[in-house]
């Protein structure tokens, strides 16, 4: 069971500690650089005493004789989309270091924060180039247990094709908002097209790159035949100290490549290793990066 007592307690604490899931800096600034200078009108809301009168739409009041508050885009409830890579490569690692376990814990943490903040949460799984399961959209803390149950039952299967699956997700009619992709990014078919499409649809994308420690520094040596758990492809390699060094180097370069590319496009990118406690990650790292408030 992924979500045991200890985990649930941690979730609680996190929820209390954070108020909103949001990405980026102060609304205004980011909004302005992104969308131009005007504040866009989104919707009306009934006036309740205490609201800011500057927001009152006087034209409507004049016509209908009832006060309505103009809702700006920002004040719309935030849609939080959590996309979890459920390909077979995610089921790697033992116990607490299992990437899937880690991803699901992170998803649960962010999900519960979103729900308690009144955001519109959607949790989706990506598998074999498609969207395989979905939870929500739901709003409110009463859906927490349901979400946890949903997450609990998830099993890793299939291969990774982020391009395809993310693309599919973005094409479906949805309210864009914050999108969090939890994956190991081992996608041979690429990832860029899907993610950039998502972004172009109006989502604010954050990538949480999850890797296991033995993927960072594989404890392998000798003449080996490496078999990919997803594809079944084999690579023959004679490992020695020198080759491992090259691998580490390669991995570092790969991650740096992600960092540079995503930064250029304004996509948040976080490198996570499963041996770091996930609650700490949410509490500190994410706060630092501005993912969580």
């Amino acid at each position: 069971m992924i979500f045991d007592e200890a985990t649930l307690r941690k979730l609680n604490q996190l929820t209390l500690a954070s108020s909103r899931v949001r990405a980026g800096m102060i609304k205004g600034e980011r909004r302005s650089t992104k969308r131009g200078t005007s504040i866009e009108f989104a919707d009306y809301r009934n006036y309740t005493p205490g609201d800011d009168l500057r927001r009152l739409d006087w034209n409507v009041y004049a016509r209908l004789d009832r006060p309505f508050i103009k809702l700006l885009e920002e004040e719309e409830d935030l849609a939080v989309h959590i996309l979890v890579d459920l390909s077979r490569s995610m089921d790697w690692g033992d116990g607490e270091s299992n990437k899937l376990h880690y991803a699901l814990c992170l998803a649960a943490a962010m999900g519960s924060i979103a729900l308690s903040s009144g955001d519109r949460l959607t949790v989706t799984t990506l598998q074999s180039g498609k969207v395989s399961a979905q939870f929500g959209p739901s709003r409110g803390a009463q859906n927490l247990v349901q979400m946890l149950n949903f997450l609990e039952g998830l099993k890793a299967n299939g291969h990774t094709n982020l391009n395809q699956s993310v693309r599919e997700y973005s094409l479906e009619a949805r309210r864009p908002g914050l999108a969090f992709i939890l994956s190991d990014l081992f996608s041979p078919a690429g990832y860029q097209d899907g993610i950039y499409l998502l972004q172009s649809k109006g989502y604010e994308v954050s990538i949480l790159h999850i890797l296991a420690p033995d993927e960072m520094d594989p404890p392998l040596a000798g003449d080996l035949r490496l078999v990919d758990v997803e594809t079944g492809q084999a690579e023959e390699v004679s490992l020695d100290g020198g080759l491992r060094e090259i691998y580490r180097h390669s991995l570092k370069a790969w991650q740096e490549n992600f960092q540079n590319e995503f930064r250029k496009r304004g996509i948040r990118y976080m490198k996570l290793v499963t041996d770091t406690a996930w609650d700490k990650v949410v509490l500190y790292e994410m706060r630092k990066q501005g993912v969580v408030k």
């Binding site: 081992f186 035949r225 990919d228 020695d240």
Partner: protein
């Protein structure tokens, strides 16, 4: 290079499995990874960067094949043909005679011989043994059945040439003994080979046969030697005459300057013409007598440059002239005309007669008193003298000639005998030139021959004349009265008496033959009262000896030149000299012999006739081991 055990080369077939293992795919352990995405990139990267890895696998294969090759070749026992005389055990006779010091081969023949033996040592196969015998006047075994090459080289280095001839008989006996010992003891496949490293000069006859194979390695290139082959002093009238003989052992006529020195002063120098292969005598008369040391030297005649000849050892000779010392002889006799007559005819003696004692009482033997002074020889004719103080018959201390002796403490006298017809003369230096055939003896005393005496003339089992040494003195006995025989009328009489007197009262205390060769022994007879004898060699080495009852034997005569013998008495000392020269035609004729004759076999020089084999397998095994270490290191570079 050849292989002594080529069968093992078949093991090289093991190379096939090694190659197969490398050609077939490496068995790899299967490991599941989350994704090979990154690994693909890594492998792509690696291909470009490190050719070492690809090479390394081939390198390991190469190293393993090299190890296999090294081991297989080592097992097959490769051997390289090395020039050597023989491939089994060797007994080497190294000629250390004077002629080996000739310088016709630079630096000397002996060094060349040493180098030749060194190549023999180097060419010894692994299990072979070598016995090294230095053949000189006293052949010496330097190394016996030695396998260790370092020891052999050490022994070879300690060999030195001598100044004299070689006792080949003894050397051959030693070699024969060593050869049969090696064969029997080691049980080697091939019997020991005897190698003679020499310049020839072996005697034609008289050598014992040698077992097994005999090889001859000649040393020396040409003969170009002049020598003084004789130097002698003879009394001529009242003076001395020096006689010397020069020999030219080369094929050219030579001109040479002969210089004679007396006590270091040049006496005479003359140029002598020598014909090729010829000897010339030179004599120098009218030389003063007295104690002196004469030296004869050969020097190059005026125009010739460089050394005189290849062997300078025989270009100098020495002769010693001892002053005439008269020997004092005391005759104790009742009157014997024949005795007195013959003794007074001898040269170099002063004869004294013991007078009858004052109170002459006719007791046993008569009353002739022994004088107080000491004499070199006492002649006792039939009676014993009485001691000065006790009037009892006594045997004088010192050398004795007893004629018709009464019973004494020295031997038993039991009656007389008359069967003296069949007299036999023993072969002895004292009976030289003695013809006893006409001598008749009426009767003689029956004397039991003492253990220390040798019979010189005997009739049947009874000695007529005998002599010997005992208690540090020499005694000769004639068992018959001179009046009972016609010996004094024969020519044998003065000869016998002269021989006996020379034996009993020698001129010199040193009994050295005139041409004493290096290595020969000298008997020194210190007289009474000598406490210590010190002999100094020409180079100055002194050896001291204490006189004992048997006379002293001095054999350290390896050096050429004049030796000084000091007789140390309590309060005085006297010196006598003797000379050691290389008067040996065998050594002075330094012509190297191409063949030598042993018994009936003629052996010619064998230069690298048989090729020995030197095994190389240790080197291959070592190489294989080094490559093994290298392979281990290369393999472990991965981790």
């Amino acid at each position: 290079m050849s292989f002594l055990a080529p069968f093992f080369l078949f093991l090289s077939i093991l190379a096939l499995p090694i190659l197969l293992m490398y050609m077939l795919k490496l068995r790899r352990r299967e490991v599941r990874v989350s994704s090979t995405l990154l690994w693909q990139a890594v492998l792509r990267d690696r291909q470009a960067n490190t050719p070492w890895k690809k090479l390394r696998r081939n390198l390991l294969l190469l190293l393993q094949l090299l190890i296999l090759v090294g081991l297989v070749v080592a097992l097959a026992r490769p051997a390289v043909a090395t020039p050597s005389i023989s491939s089994g055990s060797l007994v080497v006779l190294l000629d250390a005679s004077a002629s080996m010091r000739a310088s016709d081969v630079d630096p000397s023949r002996f060094e060349a011989a040493r180098a030749a033996v060194r190549t023999l040592i180097d060419g010894l196969s692994g299990s072979a043994q070598m016995t090294l015998i230095q053949a000189g006047f006293r052949p010496k075994v330097l190394a016996s059945a030695e396998n260790d090459r370092t020891e052999l080289r050490h022994a070879l280095q300690s060999a030195t040439p001598t100044n004299g001839p070689v006792d080949w008989k003894t050397a051959f006996a030693l070699a024969a003994g060593a050869a049969s010992a090696e064969q029997g003891g080691a049980g080697a496949a091939s019997p020991a080979t005897i190698v003679i490293v020499s310049d020839g000069g072996l005697p034609e006859t008289g050598l014992p046969p040698l077992p097994g194979e005999v090889r001859y390695m000649p040393v020396g290139t040409f003969a170009n030697n002049l020598a003084i082959s004789a130097l002698a002093l003879r009394p001529a009238g009242n003076n001395l005459e020096l006689f010397t003989s020069l020999a030219n052992y080369s094929d050219q006529p030579r001109q040479v300057v002969l210089s004679i020195y007396r006590n270091g002063e040049l006496l005479n120098a003359q140029t002598v013409e020598l014909l090729p292969n010829d000897e010339t005598g030179v004599s120098l008369p009218d030389l003063p007598t007295g104690e002196a040391i004469f030296e004869a030297r050969l020097e190059p005649a005026g125009t010739q440059e460089g050394p005189l000849d290849a062997l300078p050892l025989d270009d100098t000779a020495f002769a010693v002239s001892q002053g005439q010392k008269n020997r004092r002889i005391l005759v104790v006799s009742k009157g014997n005309f024949f005795l007195e007559q013959v003794l007074s005819a001898l040269q170099g003696v002063t004869v004294y007669r013991a007078l009858p004692s004052a109170a002459s009482n006719e007791g046993a033997g008569g009353g002739i008193q022994l004088p107080q002074e000491s004499f070199d020889l006492y002649v006792l004719d039939g009676i014993l003298p009485t001691a000065p103080d006790s009037n009892l018959p006594v045997l004088p201390e010192g050398n004795l000639l007893l004629i018709n002796p009464p019973p004494t403490a020295l031997f038993n006298v039991t009656g007389t005998f008359t069967e003296t017809q069949e007299a036999r003369v023993a072969d002895h230096p004292l009976t030289q030139f003695l013809d006893w055939r006409e001598v008749q003896i009426a009767k003689a005393r029956h004397v039991q021959l003492p253990a220390w005496a040798e019979t010189l003339v005997s009739a049947g089992d009874n000695p007529l004349v005998f002599a010997g040494e005992t208690d540090g003195r020499r005694i000769a006995v004639l068992t018959f009265d001179l009046h009972d025989t016609d010996l004094p009328l024969q020519i044998a009489y003065p000869i016998l008496i002269a021989n006996l007197i020379n034996y009993l009262a020698p001129v010199q205390s040193i009994d050295a033959p005139e041409n004493l060769l290096p290595g020969e022994s000298v008997t020194i007879l210190p007289g009474l009262g000598i406490q210590e004898v010190a002999v100094a060699s020409p180079a100055g080495a002194v050896s001291t000896m204490r006189p004992n009852e048997n006379g002293l034997l001095f054999s350290e005569t390896g050096e050429l030149g004049v030796y000084a013998v000091n007789f140390l008495k309590e309060k005085s000392q006297s010196v006598e000299y003797f000379a050691v020269n290389l008067f040996s035609e065998g050594e002075s004729d330094i012509k190297p012999a191409a063949t030598i004759q042993i018994g009936r076999t003629k052996i010619s020089a064998s230069e690298q006739e048989k090729l020995g084999k030197r095994e190389l397998w240790p080197w291959f095994a070592l190489a294989a081991f080094i490559v093994l270490v290298l392979e281990w290191w290369t393999y472990h570079r991965r981790l």
